[in-house]
């Protein structure tokens, strides 16, 4: 176990370095820079600003300096929102995105698993078809459309929830629903498939033959096995959802990380873009490791190597 984790850690460091290097050179290969503005700067002034951010130095030198400071977890100031450092920006946005993500994921899991189990137990009935249609729609409908419909219905037609903003639990309901809906759809389909697969296995028949109650068979014996595909889906899904969603954050005006992702790229805010890419890599890596570990607990046949 410890050996497994140590190996994973070593790979993560290597991956981070590759991601850093790749992102560093890719970012600088695209035209424009953080100080391109419609109002053109005097060349001397521009050079002075560039000097402040070491952009005047040769690329390899910038690379070495930034790699060194990134290793010390200091990504420097943002080049566009220059009152803030990258660390401050991530510290401000991450809790918001994480809160939203955890709630959306809990909602998606609860709804998806229950729907999936019910659909599997009543397979080939109208309940099953109805639920799976709903799940497919949940996956297919784009976030912004769902959000717009929810705003029209629950803000203006029935004034239950506020239109946007961050601060009270009420303000979270609509964004959590819109963010979680497609994941709920996926999880429902995966659970149903997993359940159908497991329910036809011999050990389930044995459990039933021994006279266990249907509820005990499903929850205790079938569900664990049926969860494997869901769990492997959860790793990358959680990394995505925890690092924010551009569309939901923009429509509901939530100060999460998602908006930073896109804007730092379009505005060539190199340090912020780099910081976010690295944070995303770490989260994805950690969650995938957790998922791999959880297999061992869910399926006794899996050995960690």
């Amino acid at each position: 176990m410890i050996q497994f984790l140590a190996k994973r850690l070593a790979w993560m460091v290597l991956t981070l370095w590759v991601v850093f290097t790749f992102s560093f050179f890719l970012m600088r290969a695209v035209p424009g820079g953080p100080f391109s503005e419609e109002r053109k700067l005097d060349p001397d002034v521009k050079r002075n600003i560039e000097r402040r951010y070491h952009l005047n130095e040769p690329l390899y030198q910038q690379y070495a300096e930034q790699l060194w400071s990134a290793m010390q977890l200091d990504l420097g100031p943002s080049m566009r929102m220059s009152d803030f450092t990258v660390n401050e920006i991530i510290a401000a946005g991450f809790p918001v995105s994480a809160t939203l993500g955890i709630l959306a994921l809990s909602f998606a899991l609860a709804l998806g698993i229950i729907t999936g189990i019910v659909a599997a137990l009543y397979r080939q009935t109208t309940t099953d078809v109805g639920m799976m249609t709903a799940a497919t729609i949940g996956i297919a409908v784009p976030n912004f459309w769902l959000a717009s419909v929810c705003i029209v219905l629950f803000v203006f037609v029935l004034p239950i929830f506020p239109a946007a903003g961050w601060g009270s639990p009420w303000q979270l309901v609509l964004p959590v629903f819109c963010l979680g809906a497609p994941y709920a759809g996926y999880i429902a389909r995966l659970t149903r498939t997993g359940m159908l697969d497991v329910l036809s296995q011999d050990y389930i028949r044995t459990a039933r033959a021994k006279g266990l109650s249907p509820a005990r068979v499903v929850v205790h014996h079938a569900l664990k096995g049926a969860m494997l595909p869901v769990v492997s889906f959860l790793g990358p899904a959680a990394a995505d959802i925890l690092t924010g969603s551009l569309i939901v954050e923009t429509i509901f005006f939530l100060p999460g990380l998602g908006r930073n992702f896109i804007q730092s790229a379009t505005q060539r805010d190199y340090p912020v873009a780099m910081g976010l890419v690295l944070v995303y890599t770490v989260i994805l890596y950690v969650l995938n490791t957790v998922v791999d570990m959880s297999y061992r607990f869910l399926d006794p046949r899996v050995k960690l190597q």
Binding site: P31, D42, K46, A164
Partner: protein
């Protein structure tokens, strides 16, 4: 085999989710602000010397106050930190008299020295202010100081390489003052053909860093250089060699007197005195905390109507009325929140849901449904949407083709059917509405005349004409719709083949700058109510020209206008210059912008105006009307 982990794991996972749920729902709910408004994007900074945008301007203008402040109705200067000014008989020296009761939020007095230091800081090359050219263009010596241009015989200030913190943008190292006796320059490097503008600047920059300045300090001749040659101990290293700031026409002879000497009589200078980038900052605060820490809520010292209470990144800025402000008794709103809402649709939703009192620029698709409401306030603004034409490329090198293209665009229909927010078709480059100025017209929509011009140019019915490509930033959205409308007019009326290319903002800027486009869309907002802010763009080699167009007579007229004392003659010169611009048509004006604001009817003191300026300190809320408004809506 029994493994505790196997049974525990699901419960652990559930507990984690439960904890997260609890954690995520325990937010501190903020007390509601008295006035909340949508402020567009997150600010680049709140340092007045670093910002240019409208959202930044609103916050800087609430926290800091300049010499004057704009009247919310007329935009004419009202007393701010200065009570009044005297103008010398040659109209070149402004002497501002500062009020004696102006205080910083820490209780110290605002003095003329604060302004002198702040303006010097803004002009210092390391500050990198995008608006430094505003002062550079009109104040004696400001441009030389800003660019570090020094000649033999000039008095200079030499900053040594001994800053306590080299990353600080403002000089804190030892400064020596002296007169330049000689400048030794190494031979100028040859710039190979095909070098990009950027690389050319870099080569020149490296060359200038090797210049050796001979000065006399304490009776001793000494050479200073930014990059002294290795091994020569005689030449000392320095960080900056700048014109001595005492040579610049910005002076503070006593705490209550601030004196600015201009190169030319500049009638619009008085508007600059109320422009937010020229607001003062407190030297003690900036030097104590350094950038960016001095801008943090606990540290910043302000002199405006509001103090900064806190900033939440990409969320809100909370401001609270400052008790030290000289006119605090007339500031009505105690606590104001500025929200960094980027999506116009979200802004409108929050406005309609009564979460905010003021939002701007609702999405154009819903304007027909909003425009008859009493809280819909539209006003033509001092900004123009236009197409640049690259005159160095065929077929746009032909003036007749450019004019034909302009006459073949039905701007009226574009504004009425596509834009719909009350935008005005632009017949001139300078938007209408500047007092005393008669814009020069480029001619109205006229298909016959356009076809005739094209025939004269040698392309009857568009035959033999290369395909014209319209470049714009961002794919989809308004810019593409507008381009397609204009392109279809060209195809239909002139038989020109048109292509469309939407690219991402930075690539677009690079393309425009390097003249690798044929037609590109642009916008320009006037910084002050004077034709110079528009017509000054297109002088030959102007930083913003980007069309390849040059006309010596145009340059002469703009330069003459700057020196002209007689206001009427001056405006006539601008008119003549615009006549040339519209005849030769390197730019095709499309429409002049309209600013749209939606403001709750119980907010008082909000006036639509040409610069779309709405100082927070002049707004107020009518509590009785507010109550009535919400009773009518049936919500609290």
């Amino acid at each position: 085999m029994y493994r505790p982990g196997r049974t525990l794991f699901p419960y652990l996972a559930l507990a984690a989710v439960g904890l997260a749920l609890v954690w995520s729902t325990t937010f501190s709910t903020l007390p509601q602000a008295d006035f909340t408004f949508i402020n567009g994007t997150e600010l680049k900074s709140i340092d007045p010397a670093r910002v240019t945008g409208v959202p930044e301007g609103r916050i800087v203008g609430a926290l800091l106050e300049g010499l004057y402040r704009p009247d919310p109705k007329t935009l004419q200067p009202l007393p701010g930190m200065a009570v009044q000014h005297d103008l010398s008989s040659d109209r070149k020296t402004y002497t501002f008299h500062l009020r004696s009761n102006a205080l910083w939020s820490d209780g110290t007095r605002v003095t003329a020295e604060d302004f002198r230091w702040s303006w010097q800081r803004m002009l210092h090359p390391e500050t990198g202010s995008e608006y430094a050219s505003l002062l550079g263009e009109c104040v004696v010596g400001a441009d030389q100081y800003h660019r570090g241009a020094v000649k033999v015989g000039n008095r200079v200030e030499i900053e040594l390489e001994d800053r306590p913190n080299p990353a600080e943008p403002f000089p804190t190292g030892t400064i020596l003052r002296s007169k330049v006796l000689a400048i030794d320059k190494p031979p100028e490097p040859k710039i190979p053909k095909g070098t990009s503008e950027d690389d050319e600047d870099k080569i020149k920059d490296a060359w200038k860093a090797k210049w050796q300045y001979t000065v006399e300090i304490d009776g001793q001749r000494q050479k200073y250089c930014k990059q002294p040659p290795a091994g020569d101990a005689q030449i000392k290293k320095c960080r900056q060699v700048l014109l001595d700031f005492s040579e610049v026409g910005i002076k503070a002879p006593d705490p209550a007197t601030f004196e600015v000497t201009l190169l030319n009589p500049t009638p619009y200078f008085i508007y600059l005195a109320q422009f937010f980038p020229l607001c003062p900052v407190q030297r003690a605060c900036v030097e104590k905390y350094g950038y960016p820490n001095w801008t943090k809520a606990g540290n910043i010292v302000t002199n405006g109507a509001y103090r900064l209470e806190f900033r939440r990144f990409r969320d809100r800025i909370r401001m609270r009325k400052s008790s030290n402000y000289w006119d605090a008794e007339h500031v009505q709103i105690n606590v104001a929140d500025a929200l960094a809402v980027e999506s116009p649709a979200t802004g409108l939703n929050m406005y309609l849901d009564n979460q905010v009192e003021w939002t701007e620029a609702p999405p154009s698709a819903v304007i027909p449904e909003l425009e008859n409401r009493i809280d819909y306030l539209a006003k033509p603004s001092l900004a123009i949407y236009f197409y640049r034409m690259n005159v160095t490329q065929k077929p746009l090198d032909n003036m007749l083709v450019r004019r034909a293209l302009n006459l073949a665009v039905n701007k009226e229909s574009l504004c009425k059917n596509l834009l719909r927010a009350g935008q005005q078709p632009a017949l001139s480059f300078v938007p209408p509405g500047l007092p005393g100025y008669e814009p020069a017209s480029a001619g109205e929509y006229n298909i016959d005349k356009a076809q005739d011009l094209l025939r004269q140019a040698g392309f009857p019915g568009g035959q033999g004409l290369d395909r014209i490509e319209i470049l714009f930033n961002g794919d989809g959205g308004d810019h593409r719709d507008i381009a397609q409308k204009i392109g279809s007019d060209w195809e239909k009326n002139l038989g020109v083949r048109v292509g469309y290319k939407g690219i991402e903002w930075n690539s677009y800027l690079a393309a425009v700058r390097q003249l690798s486009y044929s037609v590109s869309r642009n916008g320009w907002t006037g910084d002050y109510p004077d034709p110079n802010t528009f017509l000054g763009l297109f002088v030959s080699n102007g930083e913003q020209n980007s069309t390849g167009w040059k006309n010596p007579r145009y340059d002469q007229l703009i330069a003459d206008a700057a020196r002209e004392v007689d206001a009427k003659k001056r405006l006539q010169m601008f008119h003549d210059a615009e006549r040339i611009l519209m005849d030769e048509m390197p730019v095709l004006p499309v429409y002049s912008y309209v600013s749209v604001n939606m403001v709750k009817p119980y907010v008082k003191g909000f006036y639509p105006n040409a610069q779309d300026l709405h100082p927070l300190r002049d707004l107020s809320i009518d509590a009785a009307e507010r109550r009535k408004y919400f009773q009518a809506k049936g919500t609290p």
